[in-house]
Symmetry: C2
């Protein structure tokens, strides 16, 4: 009676379950865009598939008004021209509700099996998705491929594994038998049915539409809910491709494809989203975006369980460091990667004004600041190589923010525009690095400056740095905290600060791991313990409220023999 | 390094874990008030301990203003005269926050071990707690003992088991090692620290202060949170005793006893509770009570994760029945038990106006209504026996509601006052049973009439009965649904209705199990899938949001040998 798609992917599922339990390195989806894995023509085919979407109407056989929407602009300097079928919200909700009824009845193995099959198909479309991610988010190709495809698929699989881990712990039925002394026992047969919540709404973001959108989408799907995917109007295509693949798999498996639908919108869709988010049929909302919108959902969408990832202030505490150059290289990479447009990118770098200890002796604050500045400049010195790291600026708001930030403090490295060798209209900016002082500038650095904007902040001591790191994370939110120290006591104090701030800590990163990176199956992305996110990707809390258990009980014949009737058989 | 209290109770914990996984019958706390289990003088000692609390100030060594509060009235007709130390909210929160810091650092095994030790001590105090429950809630002694002591302890243990089941799945650390082709792998050591949310607030009710209060209290405690227990002003004593025992155990185990504190209040404490519930330090709220107050918390206490159990409309669908007398006896018992003041007590009994099929042939609607009326009358015919089932009416509001309800429809059985043989001032009322019609009276029976008030409702068909049952549960909430049918198809349809309504279903109860009863470790109490409760007692969703995981990572030497360096060792 095992669902065939469950059986097909059971081995992968079991490996994923082992991985989330032990949290060592594991990934089933190859992160290198290798022809050996993805086919000799994979790259070319994917790019062609992306190009075929431009200046074209995206085919999607879901309920539509007949009109089309869509106004995506590539940060590399051209309009996508992709149009999407416009959906009427009422019709879409009705279709999702209808589809959910039979989907619900299919049960956990079908939900898991279909989810895993969708993931396998998405993996095959990795190049197509990568180019779509690149030309909506502005990520450079390699990041668009890795974060947009295999890493996003990993995060999705992780959510499916957590879902199964929860679902499998609810038995389908039980025999309950309560002794009654000399009287026959009371005996009942009980059935436990998983009751999904209904319809989930996934609200995508414009920087990581798949990586941030997949966990909620697959967590909903794997627990029997229907899902309406509402991409950010600036990054529709990667999720549209995803929805189409999901619908193909659902249809082939004999389900109503409206279990997964797309709600594509034109820019400035706020009022539409607010109306939708308050609809009584919407029971789950997964949101990635601004603090303002996320907080609005948390405070108003009472009918739904709301999962949010919002803004935060990521911080680095430099106390002492063995190899300052290596540390500066690592930090500069984190600042430059996708132009600081990662929710995990550091912003505040605290350095004691009295300087720090290194293997090469004491370094002054200015020397440390200069080392960081030099590392950033080196990384961006060769425009052709730099653009492969920086990518492009997703929208004009980020570019304007760089200009606003410039006057906040002393400029250590100024941001400049770069020409992209392949895309003449690309919006490319190098990182802006400023110097601030904890004594006077708290108001400047206690909020998020999203984009390639960061601050080297003079503090009275590492103690003050850690105090700031913990309290800012707790008050304003943070997804990452990084510490550099050669002192075990300071590392332990940083650990305490990270718990106070509810933020993940990285210690002495000087090599090939960067604070921005979060590995599925091992790193919890976000904690839910500070305002940057009310949930982690992924843990039991991310899953457990997406379904309920409804039970029934009926008397049956006892299995045990009552005490007075002699020995049990 | 196992905490001694964890080791002491590990066997019980493992049995509880097995029970929640298989959901068969299991209980470690003996439900019969037997001298063999609870001691020859257990009953007398417990009653004496209760009496010693009356007209006395309850000693509690927690921060206090020096004043006292408390105005509990026994539904059996006397003022308790127990006074409790008054606590200042600011001082209490500060003390809880301080205590929580070291409690947090003690880690999961200490949280679980201490929680289980508290439960063992509570079990020893079962008689004292039973008399306190009896004289605050109005429950008859046997129910006060069972539901107030061992069954409440079972529910608490269940919450502790679920907590450990979640906590143990987060490894304390991991070795993460990512291959890098011919280069040495990236290797990191990761630590995962459980970060409790902070301070939990338990808001007790006046009918089942321990049974409904313990799950939240112990779920919080077992996941490392401090807890402020705010009993209903009408039922303080059972939770005051509980808090004192918890503090004793905490102190003996070397912890700050302010991990658990009591906030006793005088009646009409609404504004105080609202202020407290919005305090930023309060991260978890467990509430049992009115829909109005529960909904207010859900909509306003945004800083906390709020768990509520509110009002509901419990229903019985009678389609056909083998032995009508047995069914009527079972239903009448459910109506009379604690005078319908159980959140699980049935209110609406749907019977087709065309009558039903029984083993003795067709019965008309009136015959079914009369059978139910007769069964209620028989059960309450002998006042001395009846009061042991009915108990007393908790407060005047319930008594007044009976009077209001009387005019809603045709009276099948009128409610009357009974003299209690042992307590001359006891507020005892027999159940009121009215006849209504689904065609005209929906507005009358679609809300909760809390107390011994129920309706036999004529419907067009069982189909309509099930439609009403599902939709009322979904819209107005319900904790129980019961169906009587000899037809497999109808039972399956009832199962579908129960899933639509998100409500637990009992089928053909004619023997020693009653729809009001919910067995720990086997029955999920509430589902979280309809407005009667936003969570179940107890499942993973009841636990998973009470803590977060904060991780750290640091580079370590790889364990594997890179590919080019030859074979792995």
């Amino acid at each position: 009676m095992t669902h065939p798609l469950f059986a097909k992917h059971e081995d992968t599922l079991n490996k994923a379950l082992a991985a989330i339990a032990t949290r060592g390195y594991w990934s089933p989806f190859v992160e290198m865009p290798s022809p050996k894995v993805y086919g000799e023509t994979g790259n070319a085919d994917g790019e062609a598939a992306f190009k075929a979407h431009t200046n074209h109407t995206f085919e999607l056989d879901q309920p539509s008004t007949g009109e089309t929407v869509g106004a995506e602009l590539s940060p590399y300097g051209f309009a996508l021209g992709t149009r999407y079928p416009k959906a009427d919200v009422d019709t879409l909700i009705a279709a999702a509700a209808t589809a959910q009824r039979s989907w619900r009845a299919a049960g956990p193995q079908a939900w898991i099996g279909v989810s895993l099959e969708i993931l396998q198909r998405l993996n095959r479309a990795s190049f197509e998705i990568a180019y779509s991610v690149m030309h909506t988010t502005g990520q450079a190709f390699m990041m668009a491929f890795q974060a947009g495809a295999p890493h996003a698929q990993d995060r999705a699989l992780e959510a499916v594994a957590y879902a199964w881990n929860e679902l499998r712990r609810v038995p389908a039925d039980a025999h309950w038998e309560k002794p009654q002394g000399k009287n026959p026992p009371l005996a009942m047969h009980k059935r436990y049915t998983i009751a999904p919540r209904g319809i989930g709404l996934v609200l995508g973001c414009c920087t990581f539409p798949t990586w941030n959108g997949y966990p909620g989408l697959f967590a909903d799907l794997a627990t029997g809910n229907a899902v309406i995917v509402k991409p950010h109007p600036g990054a529709i295509l990667p999720l549209a491709i995803t929805v189409r693949i999901a619908r193909d798999v659902l249809r082939e498996a004999g389900f109503d494809p409206n279990v997964v639908t797309l709600l594509a919108t034109d820019p400035n869709d706020g009022p539409l989203v607010q109306d939708l988010a308050l609809r009584p049929e919407i029971k789950l909302i997964d949101f990635t975006g601004s603090t303002q919108n996320g907080t609005w959902l948390e405070r108003n969408a009472h009918q739904a369980h709301v999962f949010t990832e919002k803004a935060g202030v990521n911080q680095i505490v430099i106390d002492s460091v063995d190899d300052l150059k290596a540390a500066a290289r690592n930090i500069a990479f984190s600042l430059a990667l996708y132009s600081g447009q990662m929710c995990t990118a550091p912003q505040n770098i605290y350095v004691p004004r009295t300087g720090i200890r290194t293997a090469d002796g004491q370094m002054s604050f200015d020397e440390v600041a200069q080392a960081l500045a030099t590392a950033v400049q080196k990384l961006c010195g060769d425009p052709a190589r730099a653009v492969e790291l920086l990518g492009a600026i997703q929208n004009d708001g980020v570019a304007k923010r760089i200009d606003e930030a410039r006057s906040l403090g002393r400029v250590l490295v100024d941001s400049s525009s770069l020409e992209h060798p392949a895309f003449s209209g690309a919006r490319v900016r190098t990182p802006l690095l400023l110097q601030l002082d904890a004594a006077t500038d708290l108001a400047k650095f206690s909020g998020e400056w999203f984009g390639p904007i960061s601050f080297v902040i003079a503090t009275d001591s590492t103690e003050q740095s850690l105090e700031l790191a913990g309290s800012l994370a707790a008050e304003h939110g943070a997804l990452t905290l990084s510490v550099y120290s050669m002192d075990e006591g300071i590392i332990e104090a940083a650990h305490e600060a990270s718990i106070r701030g509810g933020v993940a800590l990285s210690i002495n990163l000087t090599g090939g791991v960067f604070v921005n990176q979060s590995a599925a199956f091992s790193d919890f992305h976000g904690t839910g313990a500070n305002p940057a996110a009310n949930a982690a990707l992924t843990d039991a809390a991310f899953i457990a409220n997406r379904f309920r258990v409804v039970q029934s009980r009926i008397h049956v014949a006892p299995q045990a023999v009552p005490a007075e009737a002699g020995q049990p058989a």
